[in-house]
């Protein structure tokens, strides 16, 4: 359905509330989608535009997406004493969100089995995902890197990870579709490295974001730095990252048609968010919605009139017809009040079912439904990028704490022959200083006022000296899939609605730690070239502390969850086919990061969005060709 470009940010009034569980239960939809995040929204949009009806079952609360609701998130963030990546979003025990500070071992004996993720160890991940309408794209940073061509067959090429059943060229057209929907700002000239190709004449929707002054200061030391590794030579330089954030539209986009950025979403016209303002707050919430979030796609889907949503509805069981193996319904628990566990149970029916609830939740739901798959790979191969942080003070004022969270970094060491031995990585320069590592700038304020007893002019000078010179390098390190890294469920651990909670067993693979060790040393060399004073320390009491080759590191999670329902070529070694269709249940699609056999050194959202576009065409075809009527249960 075509729509007026001027109305492209309008959320249709009443769209999020027009369906009740009772109404939804009486209907038979073409598609039932679990999860109102980026994958679910793209599929709802694509399939409804193709004429199919859909219902989205969303665990989190959600009314119509309104500017005032979004701004309530912002106010909650301002007033929150812990400004982590979930700070804007209301506490909701019925659809509890993991928080980075929750990383602690949990055993049946642990008195406070109080967090959502049950950590079975040995490593405690501080990974998170967001359970509100829009999903984790509400808090994501917005980096939109494509995967490298060599990332799709790392097992054959380097002897690590798993090969995809698809290659870069298969996904490339869908990358372009995702870059359009997410609104990516980048220059092709900057992104044509390590084999990444673009069709002739392609430009990104918007021009690249300018590098921060901090990036430019760091570039003076890094540009031209030479690294020799396993016979390959790398000449490092600071390069801008592609970002799903509104910048300056490129007039050459789409054969000269240009690009219209989508700003803030509301039921009424809002002139906001069509260009990034430099709020330095991409995570946990962009105040003006210049950063893409799935609400933008969802609004488009709802304008078709063919998509229903049931919110405050936590999917609890996937029903299977034993004879055919086909999915016959999705059961969910609906709560009226987030602070009360009282709920009612309902089932929705459709012809095709899509689980789009992120890699941990998709696996949790399948396992809680007793569906580990023929391959026994549901929940296994859990991946998330391992982050190593190293931080220093530059010898000069670099204007830290300005810009988007990250504008530039080092990407040359994402690929090469060294990946036979150690993981690749991308390096972020954090425009928000040491915050992730130390709690800056608050920790510095306390140290200067209470520790050094400074006030007045001395305090102001000390703050400038201590904060405006901060440099934090974050190494986003590849983590290869390992079957033992997994999500399971355990009947001893349930949420207030009685749903089984995810239990995570994880260790950081040695391959990744070898990359971390190399990155640690590289950061040291960069600091030396810049004349920067190293301040890095890792606390052995940290639950995310790991030792490798005689040194210890704190490893942070990237919230790039993947691998728990890998795609592959056969039902015996994978959970889904290359279309993300379950091998065992022909009318079930498991979509999102969980289908990715490897994650390389790309933040996963752009790739999983591309995969959602690709799956949409298969689901459309299946709905058109499949003659079998929906199986309706007797309830």
């Amino acid at each position: 359905m075509a729509f007026d470009i001027d109305s492209s940010a309008i959320f249709p009034i009443g769209a999020a509330t027009r369906t009740t569980p009772q109404i939804a239960a009486r209907k038979s939809y073409d598609v039932v989608i679990v999860g109102g995040g980026v994958s679910g929204s793209i599929l709802a949009d694509q399939l409804s535009q193709a004429g199919h009806s859909a219902v989205i079952v969303e665990a989190g609360p959600g009314k119509d997406v309104q500017l005032d609701e979004y701004e309530a998130y912002l106010s909650r963030f301002y007033a929150a004493s812990v400004k982590d990546n979930q700070a804007p979003y209301p506490f909701n025990p019925n659809a509890r969100m993991p928080r980075s500070a929750d990383a602690m071992p949990v055993t049946p004996q642990t008195p406070d089995d109080q967090y959502y993720i049950v950590q079975d160890g040995p490593f405690c991940t501080d990974t998170t995902f967001t359970r509100v309408l829009g999903g984790t794209t509400m808090h994501w940073e917005g980096k939109a890197l494509r995967m490298l061509p060599e990332d799709f067959d790392t097992a054959s090429r380097f002897g690590h990870g798993r090969d995809w059943p698809l290659g870069y060229d298969d996904i490339e057209p869908y990358y372009r579709q995702a870059e359009q929907e997410l609104g990516v700002s980048a220059d092709v000239e900057d992104q044509r490295y390590l084999g990444m190709t673009f069709p002739p004449g392609y430009v990104y929707p918007m021009r690249k974001m300018p590098l921060s002054y901090l990036d430019q200061v760091v570039a003076r030391g890094v540009d031209g730095m030479r690294v020799d590794l396993d016979g390959d030579r790398y000449d490092l330089r600071i390069r801008s990252f592609p970002q799903a954030r509104n910048g300056v539209p490129n007039p050459d986009y789409d054969g000269g048609k240009g690009y219209q950025p989508i700003g803030a979403i509301s039921t009424y016209q809002v002139e906001e968010g069509k260009r990034c303002q430099g709020n330095n707050n991409c995570v946990p919430i962009c105040p003006v919605q210049a950063k893409y979030h799935a609400g933008k796609t969802l609004a488009k889907a709802l304008r078709t009139g063919k998509v229903d949503i049931v919110t405050q509805a936590v999917a609890s069981r996937v029903h299977v017809d034993k004879e055919s193996g086909r999915i016959s319904g999705i059961e969910y628990k609906r709560y009226q009040d987030p602070s009360s566990p009282e709920h009612t149970t309902h089932t929705v029916h459709g012809r095709v079912y899509v689980l789009a609830a992120n890699a941990i939740e998709n696996a949790r739901l399948m396992l809680a439904s007793g569906l580990p798959s023929t391959s026994d790979l549901v929940g296994r191969n859990l991946m998330d990028h391992a982050y190593l942080l190293r931080w220093a003070l530059l010898p000069e004022i670099a204007g830290t704490f300005r810009g988007t969270n990250c504008t530039g970094g080092i990407t040359e060491l994402r690929g090469g022959r060294f990946r036979e031995r150690q993981a690749g990585f991308a390096v972020d320069i954090h425009n928000d200083g040491w915050g992730w590592a130390t709690g800056s700038p608050y920790s510095d304020l306390l140290a200067i006022v209470d520790g050094q007893r400074k006030h007045g002019r001395d305090l102001r000078a000390a703050l400038v000296s201590q904060l405006s010179r901060q440099l934090l390098l974050a190494f986003m390190i590849e983590v290869a899939p390992e079957p033992a890294n997994r999500v399971t469920v355990d009947r001893r651990y349930r949420d207030p609605l009685g749903n089984l909670k995810p239990v995570i067993s994880f260790r950081v693979p040695e391959y990744s730690l070898a990359g971390a060790s190399f990155g640690f040393d590289l950061a040291g060399q960069i600091f030396t070239r810049l004349g920067a004073e190293d301040h890095t320390t890792y606390d052995p009491r940290d639950y995310s502390y790991v030792e490798y080759a005689g040194r210890g590191y704190s490893i942070r999670g990237g919230n790039h969850l993947a691998g728990t329902h890998v795609m592959g070529k056969t039902r015996h070694d994978s959970v889904t086919d290359p279309a993300q269709r379950s091998w065992d249940h022909e009318n079930l699609f498991l979509v999102g990061g969980g289908s990715m056999p490897t994650i390389g050194t790309s933040n996963i959202t752009l790739t999983l969005a591309a995969l959602a576009y690709r799956s949409a065409s298969f689901i459309d075809t299946q709905l058109r060709t499949e003659k079998a009527p929906a199986v309706i249960s007797a309830r």
Binding site: L74, F77, A79, S81, V82, K83, D84, A87, P90, P93, S100, A101, P210, Y213, Q216, R220, R275, C276, Q277, G278, N279, N280, V283, P284, P287, P395, E396, I397, G399, T400, F401, R402, G403, G435, W436, A437, T438, G439, P441, Y442, L445, L446, V449, D450, R453, H455, G456, R457, L459, R460, L463, V464, S465, S468, R469, D539, R541, D542, S544, S554
Partner: protein, 192 residues
């Protein structure tokens, strides 16, 4: 005994000395009355008056920042203006100098680092469940209000802005920072 308006003026005058931001700047934040009320509620009225009495402009007045009794309160006022956060006063200090005694939740656990954001004690339990922004008896340190956060002086002092508010505009991050009144040894932005 001074009236409330006079007390507020004296509070702002002291705060200007303590923060090195002008009284005009401080009034301009719109937070003065709220901060005064916070200090009175958390520390008590008498000790605040003692502080304002002792804090005379000049080197002698500086001693209040290191004073055993007045120092923690003076420093808390500085932190309040800079961050919008009321930090928990040391319990021993509170017990000794007669400030209101509060039930203080224990720190959650040792070794907790890397919380994206900052290092204040976690408050997501009963506080957020009840949807209340300010429950001093339950939360040792807290952001006084959403506006207090966005008016923090910390970011102005470094030529930046509080993350998520008062955005400087597209591309502003690509040029050196403009840091008002900075007389440190590194010059005004740029390289040496």
């Amino acid at each position: 005994m001074s009236g409330h308006a006079d007390l507020l003026d004296r509070f702002v005058a002291f705060s200007a000395e303590a923060t090195a931001f002008s009284a005009v700047d401080l009034w301009g934040t719109g937070q003065a009355a709220s901060y005064l009320a916070t200090v009175q509620e958390e520390a008590g009225d008498q000790i605040l008056r003692d502080l304002l009495e002792a804090a005379r402009p000049g080197p002698a007045g500086d001693q209040v920042f290191t004073d055993e009794k007045l120092g923690p309160l003076a420093r808390n006022i500085v932190k309040l203006w800079y961050s919008g956060v009321w930090y928990e006063l040391p319990p021993q200090w509170a017990a000794r100098f007669g400030a209101p005694v509060k039930a203080v939740p224990a720190q959650r656990r040792p070794g907790q680092h890397g919380v994206a954001g900052h290092s204040l004690p976690d408050s997501k339990g009963p506080l957020e469940q009840q949807g209340r922004q300010r429950t001093p008896a339950r939360c040792a340190s807290y952001v006084v209000s959403a506006a207090a956060y966005t008016e923090g002086l910390l970011w102005r002092a470094i030529g930046a802005h509080p993350s998520g508010a008062k955005a400087p505009g597209y591309g502003s991050w690509a040029v050196p920072p403009e840091i008002d009144g900075y007389e440190g040894d590194h010059g005004k932005g740029g390289s040496r």
